[in-house]
Symmetry: C2
Subunit: 255 residues, 2 copies
């Protein structure tokens, strides 16, 4: 019923850790059409196949996935909650686009929230959760040795995600995972720096150590610094990217 023959192959491993998968194996017949295409549109946006700032046509999207406009609208509504899409009445939906200043605001907010998550995690984390975190660190080391950059990205998302989970604060989780994380992933994906992971993983290790020692204050501090590093990196790339876009536009205006 759903067109799967597009170039947009599933690739839902990328979000497998963000949303708890119910079934153990392939969950072909997912709960609802809107949810199914939601994931696909998400990855399209995050990868930049739907560029930041571009207009989204409901009908075109619906036809692309072989469904009607109803579920498409629902998916867009959810994407709006995830900050990946901006909608205005009677005008339509656009892919979100951040100015440099807004990106900094976003990172500042993230920094505060994940700092809070660290502090909570340090006092509430269970031995199992801690073990999972340490497993993850080992995997990241292994991936680093192999030069597997994709898993490094994935692992980084997982690292932050697990700490947020360990915080045990449902509203914090919802705010970060349901609200901010997708937008962060989008800019991280499109503005990532391949040199970062080496240092980032070392920082991860120190954060986990602090949490293991139940030192919430330190863990929070380290996390905030860690995120600040990421912010600087992404900011530079975004400035570069926007400069290119501006240059292209002026060229187009001349001709």
């Amino acid at each position: 019923m759903l067109k799967q023959d597009t170039t947009l192959i599933s690739d839902d491993t990328q979000v497998s850790h963000l949303h708890k998968v119910k079934s153990t194996s392939s969950d072909k017949t997912s709960t609802t059409l809107a949810d199914q295409i939601l994931v696909q549109i998400q990855t399209s946006i995050i990868k930049g196949e739907l560029p930041a700032g571009s207009k989204i046509n409901e009908q075109a999207l619906a036809e692309k996935y072989g469904i009607s406009r109803g579920p498409t609208r629902e998916a867009l509504h959810t994407l709006e909650r995830q900050r990946l899409v901006v909608r205005s009445p009677h005008v339509g939906a656009r892919v979100a686009q951040l100015t440099v200043s807004e990106l900094n605001d976003l990172y500042q907010l993230r920094s505060v929230l994940e700092g809070m998550a660290c502090e909570l995690a340090a006092s509430r984390i269970t031995p199992e959760q801690l073990a999972k975190l340490e497993d993850l660190l080992a995997c990241q080391d292994a991936a680093l040795a192999k030069g597997d950059t994709y898993f490094q990205e994935e692992g980084d998302v997982d690292f932050h995600y697990q700490i947020i989970q360990a915080s045990g604060n449902k509203h914090l989780q919802e705010t970060l995972v349901g609200g901010l994380y997708h937008l962060l992933r989008m800019y991280r994906y499109q503005c990532t720096n391949k040199n970062r992971p080496v240092k980032a993983i070392a920082e991860h290790r120190r954060i986990v150590e602090a949490i293991a020692q139940r030192d919430g204050e330190l863990a929070s501090l380290l996390m905030r610094r860690h995120i600040e590093q990421g912010r600087k990196n992404t900011e530079l790339r975004l400035i570069e990217l926007q400069a290119n876009a501006a240059a292209k536009e002026t060229l187009a205006n001349i001709s």
Copy 2:
């Protein structure tokens, strides 16, 4: 076109400050049906006319407001983003219901976020914004003298809202105003304590003073304490409320 003859009279003054109104006077023909009933359902939930935890029937809601299920579903989707409603696929929507622990989590998150807002506001607030805040304090004093409890509530919402605005961080604003505030208002409305405002207004004054003196650290501290007071208050009322509900249920089960 829209049934206005229900007992649910408009009463949208209550949210007039949360959403910037475009037109200067009566905006009868609002942008979209979904947005119109959204406000009405919001107030129904906040006032407890739709009780916490109760099931929401799409068809019934649609008929109540004389519209079809389409816009109703959209409104429910928005309410889900505002945390006032919980939806699960193929099952339906329920009015959100917090346990005591979740309420504490919510307040903890709010505390951190509004602390951040204070710190930002202290460094970024404009003279105009500061003047508006001080006007508001004066109004609250006047309302207190008259014993106008309704305006006190409204003024409190506005107080926090204006500080959040003054923070200048768009994502912080969206997270608090678009995400958490409605749920907070719901529990505040249903669990409010009439004695609080006297002290609360004094706390407000000190926070504004700290912001005016550009002392972000102090403003943040005072705000977090202020919110902690509110939390304690609401928590006690919620425990009481839930005890009553539990008692009623056991009675019902016996008969």
